[in-house]
C-alpha cells in the first residue's frame, strides 16, 4: 500500500468530515509533490467539489493545472467530463484497494468529449517518481505525467509506459529500432504532440550519439524530421540534470560534433557536473572565442576541487581555485562591465605578462602611453619586448590601464580597468581562458600548471 493510500485510509476512518478532508488533501499534496518535483502545489479550501478543484499545480513558466479529487462514482465521473473536462484538469481517484472503477466508469466515448483531461489514481501516481528515474527518458516522461498527461492512466498503464521508456533509452543508445518504436508507442496515447515530439527527438539524439546510423532511426513523425536547436537544448538540459554520469567518451565526442556555442549557453544555468565537464573536455578544443573576464572569488576553492565548468546567463564559466572566468564570443556581453578595483600597478602587470610580447601599453592618468610601431607589432617580430623591458624608466607603481600583447595565436587586448581580455582574431577557448586567468587574476604558484593540465 502506498503512503498516500495509507493516509487516505487513515483519514477515512475518522468521522470528522472537515478533519478527514484536510488529512486526505495533505496526503494528496505530498503525493503530487513527489510525482512532479517541478510543480508548486497549492490547495484550495474546497474538497471533492463539483466545479472548484481541490489542488492547483503550478509550474515556473506560469502553466497551471487543476486537480479534482474523486471517489470513483461512475455517475459523477461521467458528469465531470461535461462539467469541467474542457479545462483539461486532472481527476485524481482516491478509491483504495482495487475498488477503482476508473476503467468502467470513464469510457472512451466520455474521454473523447474532454480529450485534455487526465483521469488517474493513487496506484498510478505512486509509480510516477521523476527523481528516481533510471535514465533521462524515463525522467522526461514521468515528470510530464501530471503536467501534460491526458486520457485514462491507471497503475498498469504507467508501469508499462515507464518500463518501455527505460528500455527505449537503452535501445536508442544501442541502435535497436524495435525498443525505440515500443517506447514511442507507449507514450503516444498519454501525451500530446509536444511531449511526443520531445520523446522522439530525445531518442533520436540518443540514437545518434550512441553511434548508430542516423538514417536508420525509426521516425514516427515523418513530417518533422529535422533536429533543431530547441531539440538539442532540451536534450542537453536532460543530460546535465541527470545524476548518472555518461562515461563513454565517444558519446561526448559525437554530441560535441553537433553542438554550437549559442545552443550550449542558451541551455540556461548549469552547475558543475561530471557530465558537463565531460562534454567540455570534448568540446573546448573546438571553440573559438574572443572575450573573457575574470571575477575573483570571495573564498578560494579547496585544491581538490580546483577546476570545473558551469553555464550561467549566456556564458561558459571556467571555475578556477580563486576565480571564475566567463567566456563569450561577443564583447557586447561586457559592455557595461566595470571592475570595482583599480588598474594594476606596472610592477604587477609586468610579472603577469612575462610570457607575452607587448604591442601597446596604456598607463595611468598622466597618459604615459607607450606604443610600438605597427610593423614591429607583428607576432614573432624580434623587436617585441616584455612589459618589463618596455617600462624601464617608469615608476613601478604606475597604473596599467590597458595592455595589448601578442601570443603565438593572437593579439590580446587586456583591459585591466574593465577586467576584460579580448582576442583578435578569435582564439581557442583554452587559450583565452589561460590568458584571462593569468593576466587578470592572482594566480597562485602551481595553479597555472594545473590549469594547463585541466585544459589539455
Amino acid at each position: 500500500m502506498s503512503a498516500v493510500s495509507d493516509a487516505v485510509t487513515q483519514a477515512l476512518s475518522s468521522h470528522d468530515v472537515v478533519g478527514a478532508s484536510s488529512g486526505i488533501k495533505d496526503a494528496v499534496c505530498d503525493e503530487l509533490s513527489r510525482a512532479d518535483t517541478a510543480a508548486t502545489i497549492r490547495r484550495t479550501e474546497y474538497f471533492n467539489h463539483s466545479y472548484v478543484p481541490d489542488v492547483v499545480m503550478n509550474w515556473s513558466d506560469g502553466y497551471h493545472r487543476e486537480v479534482f479529487l474523486r471517489f470513483s462514482s461512475a455517475e459523477r465521473l461521467s458528469a465531470d467530463v461535461d462539467r469541467i473536462g474542457q479545462s483539461g484538469p486532472v481527476l485524481f481517484d482516491l478509491t483504495i484497494g482495487g475498488e477503482s472503477e476508473l476503467k468502467s466508469a470513464v469510457g472512451e466515448e466520455a474521454l473523447g468529449r474532454a480529450p485534455a483531461m487526465l483521469v488517474t489514481d493513487t496506484e498510478a501516481s505512486e509509480q510516477v517518481r521523476p527523481d528516481q528515474a533510471e535514465n533521462m527518458l524515463e525522467r522526461l516522461v514521468s515528470s510530464n505525467v501530471f503536467r501534460a498527461g491526458h486520457g485514462l492512466l491507471d497503475g498498469e498503464t504507467v508501469e508499462q509506459t515507464l518500463s518501455a521508456t527505460r528500455s527505449g533509452f537503452d535501445g536508442a543508445v544501442a541502435g535497436n529500432p524495435s525498443l525505440v518504436r515500443a517506447a514511442l508507442a507507449s507514450t503516444r496515447p498519454i501525451f500530446g504532440l509536444g511531449i511526443e515530439r520531445r520523446v522522439e527527438r530525445t531518442l533520436q539524439l540518443l540514437w545518434w550519439v550512441g553511434g548508430a546510423d542516423e538514417q536508420q532511426f525509426p521516425l514516427s513523425l515523418p513530417d518533422d524530421m529535422e533536429l533543431d536547436a530547441d531539440d538539442m537544448r532540451e536534450f542537453l538540459r536532460m543530460v546535465f540534470s541527470d545524476d548518472q554520469p555518461v562515461g563513454d567518451g565517444r558519446f561526448w565526442n559525437r554530441l560535441s560534433d553537433r553542438l554550437d556555442f549559442g545552443t550550449l549557453v542558451s541551455v540556461g544555468s548549469v552547475k558543475e557536473s561530471e557530465n558537463l565537464n565531460s562534454l567540455m573536455a570534448a568540446y573546448s578544443s573546438r571553440v573559438q572565442l574572443s572575450h573573457a573576464v575574470v571575477d575573483l572569488r570571495d573564498r578560494p576553492m579547496p585544491p581538490y576541487d580546483a577546476y570545473g565548468w558551469e553555464l550561467d546567463d549566456g556564458f561558459v564559466v571556467l571555475s578556477g581555485p580563486d576565480w571564475d572566468c566567463r567566456m563569450t564570443p561577443s564583447g557586447n556581453r561586457f559592455s557595461q562591465r566595470r571592475d570595482e578595483g583599480k588598474a594594476v600597478p606596472l610592477e604587477q602587470a609586468s610579472a603577469r605578462s612575462l610570457d607575452y610580447r607587448v604591442v601597446e601599453a596604456e598607463f595611468d592618468e598622466k597618459a604615459r602611453q607607450v606604443s610600438l610601431s605597427r610593423k614591429a607589432a607583428q607576432p614573432g617580430a624580434p623587436s617585441q619586448r616584455t612589459l618589463e623591458e618596455l617600462a624601464e624608466g617608469f615608476d613601478p607603481s604606475s597604473q596599467v590601464r590597458k595592455l595589448t600583447v601578442v601570443s603565438e595565436a593572437s593579439r590580446l587586448t587586456v583591459d585591466f580597468e574593465r577586467m576584460l581580455v579580448g582576442a583578435d582574431p578569435d582564439v581557442s577557448l583554452r587559450a583565452i581562458a589561460e590568458a584571462a586567468s593569468v593576466l587578470l587574476a592572482d594566480v597562485r604558484e602551481g595553479d597555472l600548471d594545473d590549469l594547463q593540465w585541466f585544459l589539455g
Binding site: M1, V8, T9, L12, S13, S14, H15, V17, V18, A20, S21, R42, T44, Y46, F47, N48, H49, S50, Y51, V52, P53, V56, H64, E66, R70, F71, S72, S73, A74, E75, R76, A79, D82, R83, I84, Q86, S87, L94, T95, I96, G97, G98, E99
Partner: protein, 209 residues
Amino acid sequence: MQSDAAHNSSLTDIQSSLRLVAGEEAHGTGEDGVERARAWLEKTGRVNVNFTVYEVGAAGFLTFDDAKGSEYSFDLSGVLDLDEGKSTFYGEVKKYSVVGRQPDEYTEYLAKCYRAVVTSGHPHHFFWITWHPFSQTKWTNLCTADEIRAALETHQAKYCGADEIDNAAVTALADRLWLVVLSDRQEALSMSNAMLGELRRAATVAALP
C-alpha cells in the same frame, strides 16, 4: 499485523458493506438524484458536498448509530458556508416523481437528525431535498420543533432509547432544518458550465497565493 493485500481486502469489505448499508437506507433516491442534488447545492456557492453515500470509502462520514446499536445513514455531507459562518451539514435526497412514502420517511428523518445532533454534540444543519412535495396539509410546520417532537415520540425507542427528549436540542435543530424542493426545470435555471468555469478561476488562479 495484516499484509497489504489482507488490509486492502478487509478495507474493501468494510467499504462495500458500508456502501450497501447506506444504499439500503437510501432506497428511493438513486445516485442520479444525489449527484443532481449535490450539483445544485454547490452551484449556490454556499455549499461544498464533501462526501455522498455513493462514493467508495465515504459512508463512514454519513453513518450514525441509533439507540439500539444499528446504523443509519444520510445521503450526503459537507460544509455549509453561511454569512454567520461555516457549519457541517447532512442531507437526505428523494428523487421522487410522486409523494411516495415521504411523509413517513420525513418523520423518521427528523428523529435521525435529532439523534445525530445529540450523539455527536455538533450543531449540524440538515437538508431534505425532494423532487416532489409531500404532507401539504402541514407543509409550513415540517421544520418546526413541534414536528421534531412528534417524530421523536413516534420513533422514541429507536432514536432516543431510555433518554428523555432534550428540548433545547430540539429547538436548536428546528432552526437548522432545510426543506428544498427541486424540479428538473429548476435545475436548468442555474449557472452554465462556462460561468462555473469563471467562478472556478476566481476561486483558484486569482485567489490562491
